[in-house]
């Protein structure tokens, strides 16, 4: 029994039941399939993270963002600049207590290099209702190339707890034709 020492002292030589062996083989092969599915998706799938990231200070990142905002702001919305950078360009998004800044307008079907970094604590970039979720750290700049495939208004919810205003931290992305 499981609460007493094994009755057969040389238990490691006993044969394995067929049904058990069959299950071990099936489970092992399934593990390999799941493992190689991740590898396969890096080649065949369209949704992968780039792994492109840099160390950066909050000041440097803010400076890059401000340069983009100055150049490409198209309008103002409840105190937020709405920027419309050219297709294929670099887009900077600041996460800070408790806002995503600025509002970004993209064109459907075009690719953008989106740079994410935090000015203070850790934040979570949760693009809704698409449901893409990324971690945003202070001191690290992550670059993700996104290709919006539908027009509309999308929310950016912070999904990494960042203090008492966490639930107020919502940003916006517009995708237009």
């Amino acid at each position: 029994m499981a609460i007493t020492p094994p009755t057969e002292r040389i238990w490691w030589n006993l044969p394995i039941a067929k049904v058990e062996l069959a299950w071990i083989i099936i489970a092992f092969v399934w593990g390999l399939i799941m493992f190689f599915m991740m590898v396969y998706w890096h080649g065949a799938g369209e949704q992968n993270l780039s792994n492109e990231a840099y160390r950066i200070t909050p000041e440097q990142f803010a400076a890059k963002t401000n340069a983009m905002v100055e150049q490409y702001t198209v309008r103002d919305e409840s105190g937020y600049a709405v920027v419309h950078p050219p297709a294929g360009s670099d887009v900077y998004l600041i996460a800070r207590l408790w806002q995503w800044w600025p509002i970004i307008e993209m064109e459907k079907g075009q690719s953008y290099r989106v740079h994410l970094s935090s000015m203070d604590w850790q934040h979570g970039f949760s693009l809704q209702p698409i449901n893409v979720n990324l971690s945003v750290h202070p001191g690290y700049e992550m670059v993700v190339t996104m290709t919006p495939d539908a027009t509309g208004e999308f929310g950016i919810v912070c999904n990494e707890f960042c203090g008492i205003g966490h639930h107020l931290m919502v940003g916006k992305i517009y995708v237009v034709e």
Partner: protein
């Protein structure tokens, strides 16, 4: 042997029980239940606040209570109970005296003082940093200090366990190899050492940073090392509750594992590979390569998952085998229908096994897939998953074994037997609901650790679909059910321990059935467990389907490179 060592012989099991070990088991179990009650109450408040129409607590209280909930139930309740399990699986099961009871008591008090200190820090209101306490968000220094004390106390307990194994071997208190349950406990203790060391490595500098002696802690380093504690500690739970599944199956049904070799190899897989799971929390972080993520998140090609899938067959398989030898041989499932479902220890154990596999296990593997994590990371799917593992799995298994510990170790009869009988069903149903509905809300994008999904006070809002609100309401109702189950558990256990009928020194409280015959040389290959094979097939098909459904979901989101 120490002349002052006092033993009694258990009339039910024939085991020699060292009185110091017994006192320590009692102390740890009582402390565990106290923190379960506190942490469970916090959990109910969290769920009632998430329930949109009730929205009970203000934001600051919600985040405070959520921090306390995570700490008290995920860490304190479970580790205290695990210490009781370690002492039971070593000193009691091996007929041995406990090594250095004094050190064990020092460990106990360090854990208790540490847990209390961290709770005080949380309740003071300036340490609402969540269980994970990600830097550079800062808690009060005694928040970290309490955790450190708790961790070191638990580490002492692990070494007392190792010491006891050495003594048992030295004094030849058992023949041959240690029992499988002790082997499982050993697995848990080895993982615990790794876990606690990781915790100390990151919490010590964080403590020094909180008092101003260190200027900066890198956020990514913190997260990587913290999760070497945070996730690996969940593998202590897995090892401990799998050991308890084996224990209950053996004590109630005489179930004997189909193959010692296979079951022990499965535990060994845990020791070798489960620690890689820190990666599960780093799949969408900047600056970590995909190669690292894929290797680590899959526990090196899912070898630890293989361990769990093996236990998932051997445990019901050993029960089926034992039941069939008892004559419940009709059809595929008579063995299961005729199982002692009225015994809360068995019911709790079996529900724990099913829910852990179907809810916690499958969702964990899916969420831990590198790319699939993109559509789940930090949504409510995450707590949905780990309520399936840690609550439906570990907590329910620990509750189940309590119904054996009270008569055997506390030597009190369980009171309110009818209530105790429904407890595992009520709790299991509630937790299954919590798990499923949180995963549902997470699939719809609802964030975890979030006070208000209506964004009523935010400058810009976002409208979640109405189904998400429904999911959170259903989660609230499930939490009420689970809380009822939890309250019944605490009520039954506390009343039995203090007011239950005392069991006499020579009184038998249970008959341990004779072990089922398996694995004599040549017979093992003839084992027939068709019912278990069907259960396992259902599990496997669900797993495969759900896995690929999520790839389909992923393929629908914006292309990302």
């Amino acid at each position: 042997m120490n002349a002052t060592t006092i033993f009694r012989t258990c009339p039910s099991t024939g085991l020699k029980v060292h009185s110091s070990a017994e006192k320590l088991i009692k102390a740890h179990a009582v402390a565990a239940v106290v923190f379960l009650a506190v942490g469970g109450l916090f959990g109910l408040l969290v769920a009632l606040t998430r329930w949109p129409t009730i929205h009970l607590l203000p934001a600051d209280w919600f985040y405070l209570v959520l921090t306390g909930h995570g700490l008290d139930v995920l860490l304190v309740w479970i580790i205290f109970f695990e210490m009781a399990v370690l002492y039971f699986a070593s000193a009691v099961l091996l007929n041995c005296r406990l090594a250095t009871p004094l050190a064990a008591w020092i460990g106990f008090w360090m854990m208790l003082i540490g847990a209390a200190m961290t709770n005080v820090a949380v309740l003071q209101g300036d340490s609402s940093v969540m269980f994970t306490s990600y830097v550079p968000m800062k808690a009060a220094p005694h928040f970290y200090l309490g955790l450190l004390l708790f961790a070191v106390g638990a580490l002492i307990g692990c070494f007392v366990f190792f010491g006891t194994l050495v003594i048992a071997k030295e004094e030849k208190t058992y023949e041959g190899s240690i029992p499988l349950v002790t082997f499982g406990a050993l697995t848990a203790a080895i993982i615990a050492v790794f876990t606690i060391a990781s915790g100390a490595i990151i919490l010590l500098p964080t403590f020094l940073w909180s008092v101003g002696l260190i200027s900066n802690i890198d956020t990514l380093t913190y997260k990587t090392v913290w999760w070497a504690m945070g996730h690996s500690s969940q593998q202590i739970n897995v090892s401990a509750h799998v050991a308890i599944w084996y224990l209950i199956a053996a004590m109630l049904l005489g179930a004997r594992t189909i193959s010692e070799k296979v079951s022990r190899m499965a535990f060994l897989m845990y020791i070798l590979f489960l620690q890689l799971a820190s990666a599960h929390h780093l799949l969408v972080e900047p600056g970590i390569s995909s190669e690292w993520k894929i290797f680590n998140t899959s526990y090196a090609m899912y070898l630890a998952v293989l361990g769990s899938m093996v236990h998932g067959m051997t445990i019901p398989g050993s029960i089926e085998n034992a039941q069939r030898q008892r004559g419940f041989n009709n059809g595929l499932f008579q063995w299961l229908r005729k199982a002692p479902w009225g015994n809360p220890a068995f019911a709790g154990m079996f529900i724990s096994l099913i829910l852990f596999g179907f809810l916690g296990g499958i969702s964990g593997v899916v969420m831990g897939t590198e790319q699939l994590n993109l559509i789940m990371h930090n949504t409510l799917y995450v707590p949905g998953h780990f309520h399936g593992t840690v609550v439906a799995g570990t907590t329910l298994a620990f509750m189940a074994v309590t119904y054996l510990l009270v008569p055997l170790i506390f030597r009190r009869e369980i009171m309110f037997k009818k209530l105790a009988q429904i407890q595992p069903y009520l709790f299991g149903l509630g937790v299954a609901g919590i798990s499923v509905f949180m995963m549902g809300a997470g699939t719809l994008g609802v964030s975890r650790r979030h006070w208000d999904i209506t964004f009523a006070d935010a400058i810009m809002g976002f409208d979640y679909p109405a189904t998400a609100y429904l999911m959170l309401a259903a989660n609230g109702i499930s939490a009420v059910l689970a809380s009822l189950g939890g309250i019944i558990y605490v009520f039954v256990v506390v009343s039995s321990v203090f007011f239950g009928r005392k069991i006499g020194a020579n009184e038998k409280v249970m008959d341990i059935p004779a072990p089922a015959a398996v694995s004599h040389y040549g017979s093992a290959t003839k084992i027939s467990i068709p019912g278990t094979a069907v259960l396992v097939a259902v599990f496997f098909i669900s797993f495969v389907l759900y896995y690929f459904v999520n790839w389909k979901y992923l393929s629908d989101v914006w292309p990302l490179r």
